[in-house]
Structure formats: structure tokens, C-alpha cells
């Protein structure tokens, strides 16, 4: 599954995107954040406060309880500050 990062999440992870094979236990966006946190120091730092992190599945905003099944692209990013 393709995961994309923006703004300070991208900087903390030092990557714009990655392809990851998810364990079958990871079913929702929230579970994905919890699982990513265990992948190393930089992930623990990036996902330190998951409550402030927003997510999108295939370019549509989703909540942490959104199911990952069928998703092609998951994006994680901080609250938006455009305009």
C-alpha cells in the first residue's frame, strides 16, 4: 500500500512516500498510525501525537476509524494551513 506524508510529517520521516506491506491485523487508519509508530525512532517522533494528524484515503478526508480495505493511497498530514 502506498503511504504519503506531508509537511512536518514528511520532514520528521525524511520521506515523501513509501510502499508498505501491511500486516493483516492493521484494518483502520488509526491502527495504521499505531503500527507505523512501532517502525522506528523517526516514526515514533512523527506519530507522537496521532490526535493532531489528519488522514486521507485516495484523496478524500477520513477519520481514524476508516477502513483501509480497497485503498490505493493513504496520506498523513498535519492540520491544513492554506489560503
Amino acid at each position: 500500500m502506498k503511504i504519503i506524508y506531508f509537511a512536518w510529517l514528511r520532514e520528521r520521516l525524511d520521506k515523501t512516500e513509501e510502499e508498505i506491506e501491511l500486516p493483516s491485523s492493521v484494518q483502520t487508519v488509526g491502527e495504521l498510525m499505531d503500527w507505523l509508530k512501532t517502525r522506528g525512532e523517526e516514526y515514533a517522533y512523527a506519530f507522537d501525537n496521532p490526535k493532531v494528524i489528519r488522514a486521507a484515503i485516495d484523496k478524500t478526508h477520513v477519520r481514524p476509524d476508516a477502513k483501509l480495505a480497497g485503498a490505493r493511497e493513504i496520506a498523513f498530514f498535519p492540520p491544513m494551513t492554506g489560503g
Binding site: 504519503i4 506531508f6 509537511a7 512536518w8 486521507a56 484523496k59 478524500t60 478526508h61 496520506a75 498530514f77 498535519p78 492540520p79 491544513m80 494551513t81 492554506g82 489560503g83
Partner: protein
């Protein structure tokens, strides 16, 4: 007029606000045009900055703005609406985002422009980083923006 026909665009260079305004004003039956320009300020929370860097999620940014422009067309009798958002490095005084709405009468044009901006602020995937004084910092989201959309629900 040689502007693209797309009503929502993300651009890297300066925005030609006069041409965008003329574009919506040229729609048939227009009696009112409202525009909004979001401009890069020379300070952010009291700190002087030399520029903003705007990052966005390509595809999703256009889609989120486009969705709210469509909703505005459903809520108000708009004759035209355009949104242009700039990304990359933007210096103080330059336009970050531009919205233009046109209608037969002013109420619809004002309301739609505010509606589009309120939702753009809270739902369009853009992020601002400041440059200045030798350091960089991500701009924090504004709680006031979350409250602003409550009036449209």
C-alpha cells in the same frame, strides 16, 4: 482572454487577479463580482518573515476546492466562480490565494466567496512554512477557521 477554463487551479508563479476577475465578470447576466485575495504578510505571530513556502497535496487540493465550489453553485445562483491557489515560495505582499465569484446580485456573490474561503482554509490540503531570521517553522492551524465553517452547516 487566454486564461485556462478550469475553475480551480494550483499555480507556481504569481496570480493574475485582474484577468481572473475579468473572466468571471464576463459571464452573461453578471451584476455583482466579489473577489478575495489572501496575501502573504511580513510577519507571522509577531515574527518578521522573509517568505512563506506553500506545500500541497496535488490532486486532492484541486478536488477539495472543486467540491466546495460545486456546493457553492448549488447553494447560491452563481454565474461563475474561480479559485487560484499559489504554491512554492511566496514573498510578503504577494497573493497566496484568489477567489472570484459572480452573480446577478451581491448577496450570492459575497456569501459564496466567504463559503469557498472558509472551506478552503479547513479542508484543502495546503501547508505553510515560514522562512526568516535564519530559521523555518510550520504555521499552526487556526481554531477560528474551524469555527468559521459552523455557520454554513
Amino acid at each position: 482572454m487566454t486564461l485556462p477554463r478550469e475553475p480551480v487551479r494550483i499555480v507556481v508563479g504569481p496570480i493574475d487577479t485582474a484577468a481572473e476577475t475579468a473572466f468571471v465578470a464576463a459571464a452573461s447576466g453578471v451584476g455583482a463580482v466579489v473577489t478575495f485575495s489572501g496575501i502573504c504578510r511580513a510577519d507571522e505571530k509577531g515574527e518578521t518573515i522573509s517568505a512563506l513556502h506553500l506545500e500541497h497535496y496535488p490532486g486532492m487540493a484541486e478536488q477539495e476546492i472543486g467540491k466546495h465550489v460545486e456546493q457553492a453553485h448549488k447553494r447560491w445562483p452563481l454565474l461563475a466562480a474561480r479559485v487560484v491557489h499559489r504554491v512554492g515560495r511566496i514573498e510578503p505582499g504577494e497573493v497566496i490565494v484568489f477567489v472570484a465569484t459572480a452573480s446577478a446580485h451581491r448577496e450570492a456573490a459575497f456569501a459564496a466567496a466567504e463559503f469557498i474561503m472558509d472551506y478552503l482554509k479547513t479542508s484543502a490540503p495546503f501547508w505553510k512554512k515560514t522562512e526568516g531570521g535564519g530559521k523555518e517553522a510550520w504555521v499552526d492551524a487556526n481554531e477560528k477557521d474551524d469555527r468559521a465553517i459552523e455557520r454554513w452547516k
